[in-house]
Each structure stands twice: as C-alpha cells, then as structure tokens.
Symmetry: C2
Subunit: 275 residues, 2 copies
C-alpha cells in the first residue's frame, strides 16, 4: 500500500488517518524528514542550534509564522495540499518538556500566531545508497526500526538549548566495510553524512549505556565479525526541545514526529545531497 | 607601532619580518584569522571537517590551488600585495604531524601545485564587542595570550580527519555575567559564537587536564567569584591537521599560524558577523 504511491498520496493517507506506522521503507526513493514544531519564543534559538550542529540537526526547511501549509524550500515540499498539522503519520505532543499524548493530527492545538515548523534531515535517506552499494543496513533487511541511543556527547549550545546530548542511530557492519560505508554516506551532508564514530570503543566514548537496549527504536543483533557504526540522528532535536521545554516557563505546546514516523518529502533521496 | 596602521601595512611589517609577535590587540577594529595550509590530497576532507564543525572550524575564506596571493572572499582580504606565504607574523612548519620549525615565511616550501590555504575565524574578533559591553576579557586587560586547552570533546569526523579533539579558549567571568557574555558573543557566528560550556563542572565534561596549565597560550588567574567560560578555538584545526599528518604516508609540508600569531584581515570585527 505504501510502496507504489507518490509522496503526496502517502501524506494524504496520513492526513486521513489511514496510515500511522513507522515510515522506514515507505515511498522508496523519496527522502523523509524529522519534524519539530516550536513556539516562536525559542524558534530563533533552535535555528541557531541547527547552524551550530549541522551534523546532528541538519535543517532542510522550515515553515513561516502563520503558514503551516508551506515550507521555505520548494525542492523539499511542493504540494498545494500539504499541511504540517496533519501530514505526519504520528505526532508527539509535548508540554513543558513532557510527552502528554500521541496524536494523528495537531490541527486543534497548532497556534498560527506562534508555532514554527522545522524539517530536519533523516538518515533513512542514505540507506537507499547503502543498499545500492551492497551494504544494506540490517534494520532495512529486517524491516525493523533502527536502534537509537542517547549519548553523553553534547551539542554546541545555542540560547535556551544548553546541555543537549547527541542521539545516534546504529547500524552494524564488518570492520572491513567501514571505510566504504563512510564514503557512501558522507555525500549526504543534509542527512547526517558520514558516521560520527564506530567500533566497540565508541560505545564508551559516546557514553551509550547499553548497546542491547536502545532508548529509541528497536534492538539490533550484531554478529561476531561486525562492529557498531554510529550516525548522528534527528531524534537529537526532539530531546533538545524536551530539555528546553523543561527549563522554560513557557506553557506552549511543542510537537514532534514520533521516532521513526517521519514526514515523507517530495525530494528524492538521490537529490537531497544537493541541498 | 602596530596600533595606528592599516591591515595592509601590518601585513607588510610581517612580510618584511619586522613583526613576529602575537597579534592580540594588534590593528584594533580588524578581524584576525587562524591559518592552515594543506596539501590538496586532504584539502577536501578538511573543507568537509569545517562544514561538519562550524563552531570549532568556522571557514571564512580559502585560497585556490596555485594562488597563495588571493582568497575566495574579497570581503576578507582585498589587497593586491597580499601573500599567504609571507604575511603571517610566524608560521609553524609541520611534516608528518610534527612541528619541524617555526618560520617568518614559507615562500621557499609552498608547493604551488599542491598547497591550499584555509582562513578560520578567531575569537579575538568578539573580544572588541565584549570590551564595549564592559566585559573586557582578562587576557586583553593584561595583554597576555588567551589560555587554550586540549579537550576530550571530539569533532565530527570527516575523511582522514578522525578522532580530532576540540581545543577551547578560556576567559574567566562572574557567573552572573555569563548570560550577557553568551548574548554578546553569539552574534559572531563565523568566529566561534557563544561559549560551548562554562563553570567548573565544564572542566570535567570537557576533559581538561589542568585549568592552571593550558596546553597553548598563557595561564590566566581566576578570581574567587568567577567561573571559567570556554569557547571553541581555531587551534582545533591545527591539532586536527597534525593528527591527519601523523596518520598519513604523505610527505608534504603543512603550515599553520603559531597559536596567537594570527593573520590580520581587511574585514572589521563589526562586519565579520555578516559573513
């Protein structure tokens, strides 16, 4: 159902609440984005956070105040029916840093005088390139959500966004394949690019608590001849927004995609390098 | 001598080997840059490193292959007499990652078929703004070189540049002034922007060995009512180049400014925010 349709048709399924699953493997060939929607008081700080941390938070487009149905880059979304309030399969709704519910739409609580949406590149985009190089990630082969971990590596702070940790995604590879994997993914500058670390010693360097128990996504088997390879992950932005919300007196809603449940874009995986 | 002259005149003093000191406070009002000159084999990887780590490695201009007397941004250097082979007060000359000598010119060993120069923003540029806000850094008041430390915080890797640590500069401030200090410096996006961490607990987070013994620059007194405030520092790029040199079979020279002995630019401190 979600394979032979266009991005616009897929987003209509989300809009109509006919699809609410994770989007790994959905609408092959097209890029997907992490989504974060913030009140205007902290939106500038967040734009700075992205500029100061382009590997973890690669900003690819944003909405203007009052216009949830348009982004500032038509290469990314070019669709008159688009509406960021409804077109994600599943939203997390946060208040003061706490997830208060999941929802299939946030049209009822999006404040046109305040909310600004940010689209952040997603590592799903380079998975197609890895597949075509004979380096298919296990999570794709097994149709599971990728493993994601909280780390102790800190983003460069920006305004209210201080002490924000990197979240990383992990895909296991043979040590002899790592240089090829780095080379294939480094072209994808707007979707996290090459890995930020690799090997079992990286687990300690990144301060990952338990490789078998990812904080987000699904656990992933690592074979004896493989090592974990870690990429920066767009879920970083959600954790940052939650932390900022916790330390702010602001009572506004924050919205984000539910991890793995991304916004499907009109730009192809093969074109997103050019952004 | 170095106060009431133009950037071009100051660079001529360097060219003629009449000035070889550190440049803190020299040619007030004008920005200064960290310099790194690399063989072409690793220049693309370094440009990627800058793109992936804009806070530590804010690239503001570079030379083209074969043209050490011109940079790709005329706002930064606009001077027919400019020559990156001679216009620094003091160069470090490296081979395979080791400093083999300091020199007042590298004209004799710059390879026109290989070397590419990179100019990286320098935190001296925001010191003028701090001064005018009544927040003069101690190193400026005492006319000493700023304290700089190696950390265990890693850059996002790019090609041959893997496992490269951040180098930070430190200026002590009263804890109550930190938010103002952050606000003043964050506008300087191309010269490291706001601090990356602050407070005595940051010393541990950053893995700094001994606050009293900076790896580069001069030690700096911290009063009882002050805390250390840490900015990313352009010396990061030198350490990265040394590491890359150590792990490469390449026998080419690498050049860099000696820490604190920067390239004086034609762009003003007040204009460098706009780059």
């Amino acid at each position: 159902m979600t394979v032979d349709i266009s991005p616009s048709e897929f987003r209509r399924l989300c809009k109509e609440n006919s699809f609410w699953g994770h989007t790994s493997g959905c609408v092959p060939g097209y890029a997907q984005a992490n989504v974060l929607v913030l009140p205007k008081e902290i939106a500038n700080d967040f734009a700075d956070l992205c500029a100061r941390n382009p590997v973890a938070c690669p900003l690819i487009a944003m909405t203007k105040l009052g216009s949830p149905n348009k982004v500032d880059n038509r290469l990314v979304i070019d669709d008159e029916d688009f509406d960021l309030r409804t077109d994600l399969p599943k939203y997390g709704v946060y208040k003061q840093g706490n997830l208060i519910r999941e929802a299939s739409s946030v049209a009822d609580c999006w404040d046109l005088d305040s909310h600004i949406g940010f689209l952040i590149g997603c590592s799903f985009s380079f998975e197609a390139a890895l597949i075509s190089e004979g380096l298919a990630p296990r999570n794709v082969l097994e149709k599971s959500n990728v493993s994601m971990y909280l780390t102790t590596k800190m983003l460069n702070p920006a305004g209210v966004f201080t002490r924000c940790p990197y979240v990383v995604s992990m895909r296991p590879y043979k040590a002899t394949d790592v240089e090829k994997v780095r080379l294939v993914t480094r072209e994808f500058r707007k979707t996290h690019g090459e890995p930020i670390d690799w090997g079992y010693d990286a687990v300690e360097r990144l301060g990952i608590k338990d490789l078998l128990l990812p904080e987000f996504g699904s656990p992933c088997r690592i074979e004896d001849d493989e090592i974990p390879v870690f990429w920066a992950c767009g879920v970083t932005t959600q954790v940052a927004a939650q932390q900022a919300g916790k330390h702010s007196a602001n009572d506004d809603y924050i919205f984000a995609h539910v991890p793995g449940h991304m916004l499907v874009l009109d730009i192809k995986d093969s074109e997103i390098c050019c952004l």
